[in-house]
């Protein structure tokens, strides 16, 4: 098999938890900061509250993020932190994807 040929197994090996666009966006934002408020994450990703909650739950279940809940006075404030596993998964995903994409100038 040539160097530029894509191994179908490699595509199938992509982490599907990270591969989903909304979750990829969430992880990208979380990887750029130490802790991110729910509201900011919602606005920056453009997701609805319900959608964002559902995706963060999946990422939390995969061990890619931690949810931090605190009270500011009587108001509950939810924030998220990416875990070390989440960072590793995102890095691995970027590397896999870069390896899969054709080099510039080649079809």
């Amino acid at each position: 098999m040539g160097k530029t040929e894509t191994n179908p197994k490699t595509i199938l090996d992509l982490d599907r938890t990270v591969h989903e666009p909304a979750r990829l966006a969430i992880l990208t934002v979380l990887a750029s900061a130490e802790e991110v408020a729910f509201l900011f994450l919602q606005r920056v990703t453009g997701l609805s509250k319900g959608n964002l909650s559902s995706h963060t739950q999946k990422l939390e279940a995969a061990g890619y993020l931690d949810t931090v809940k605190v009270f500011q006075g009587r108001i509950p404030v939810t924030s998220f932190r990416i875990t070390e596993d989440g960072r590793t998964a995102l890095r691995a995903y970027h590397q896999q994807l870069r390896a899969l994409l054709p080099k510039e100038g080649k079809p």
């Binding site: 934002v29 750029s32 900061a33 919602q42």
Partner: protein, 241 residues
């Protein structure tokens, strides 16, 4: 969903976090404005004589750095957090530079006080006779500028803030010297000291005042520009779907 590309998402997050961690925006502009006001206010002939609630106006002006720190803290709680808190990734190089500025302010105050003591010892500076102008003892007040150092490690979050604070403190030190501690002439207190200060001292003072004015103008522009950048950042965020 209209999601910006991943690079843009990452940049927006870092930028928003920077506003909460070290960019002061309007607080920098306010620092510049205060620097101009506190530079020009005591220049009026009667400024030294104005009394408010039993104290001279200049005594209140010396609180300017603390007033700015308080206003800056309030602004930081109100502005730049429309979308909740985002804690940025700590930047060790930036933190080192911040401490460099804090140490610089402390060294400046220390050096200024040492020069004052040397000035008194050499006879270049003359202590204001007790009760001649201000209510505070003259030489006994030498330790007071050290109070400017105390809040710096906690309240100066960014380099722009440290610059603004350094300028305000520098100004206050000048007025502090002129109003509480000393005059640099051999004539009795009450004669305008600038008039008989040596030409070198006058040139140095004028240059210093000019530098403060230029910095203040730049700080106001920079602060306003930063504030606009923040508003632009909010506008680029996608609307809720």
């Amino acid at each position: 969903m209209t999601t910006p590309d991943l690079e843009a998402l990452s940049a927006m997050t870092r930028e928003y976090a920077a506003f909460q961690a070290r960019k002061s925006g309007l607080a920098t502009a306010l620092g510049g404005l205060m620097a101009v006001l506190f530079l020009t206010a005591p220049m009026y002939v009667d400024a030294l004589g104005i009394r408010l609630m039993g104290r001279y106006l200049l005594e209140y002006l010396l609180l300017a750095p603390f007033v700015w720190l308080a206003l800056k803290t309030i602004l930081a709680r109100v502005l730049y957090r429309d979308l909740g808190k985002v804690k940025g990734i700590p930047d060790a190089a930036y933190e080192r530079r911040r401490w460099f500025w804090i140490l610089g302010i402390a060294l400046f105050i220390g050096a200024f006080l040492v020069l004052c003591i040397l000035g008194f010892a050499s006879g270049f500076l003359h202590a204001i006779p007790a009760g001649a102008c201000m209510t505070m003892p003259s030489l006994g007040a030498l330790w007071l500028p050290l109070l400017y150092i105390v809040p710096t490690p906690w309240l100066l979050r960014g380099i722009e803030e440290a610059r603004a604070y350094a300028v305000l403190v520098g100004e206050c030190m000048l007025w502090f010297l002129a109003s509480f501690l000393a005059f640099w002439s051999v004539r009795p207190y009450g004669s305008p000291s600038m008039e008989i200060a040596s030409t070198v001292v006058q040139i140095v003072l004028v240059l210093l005042l000019l530098a403060i004015l230029i910095w203040s103008a730049l700080a106001m522009v920079r602060g306003w520009k930063e504030h606009r950048e923040y508003l632009a950042l909010l506008r680029t965020l996608p609307r809720e779907s």
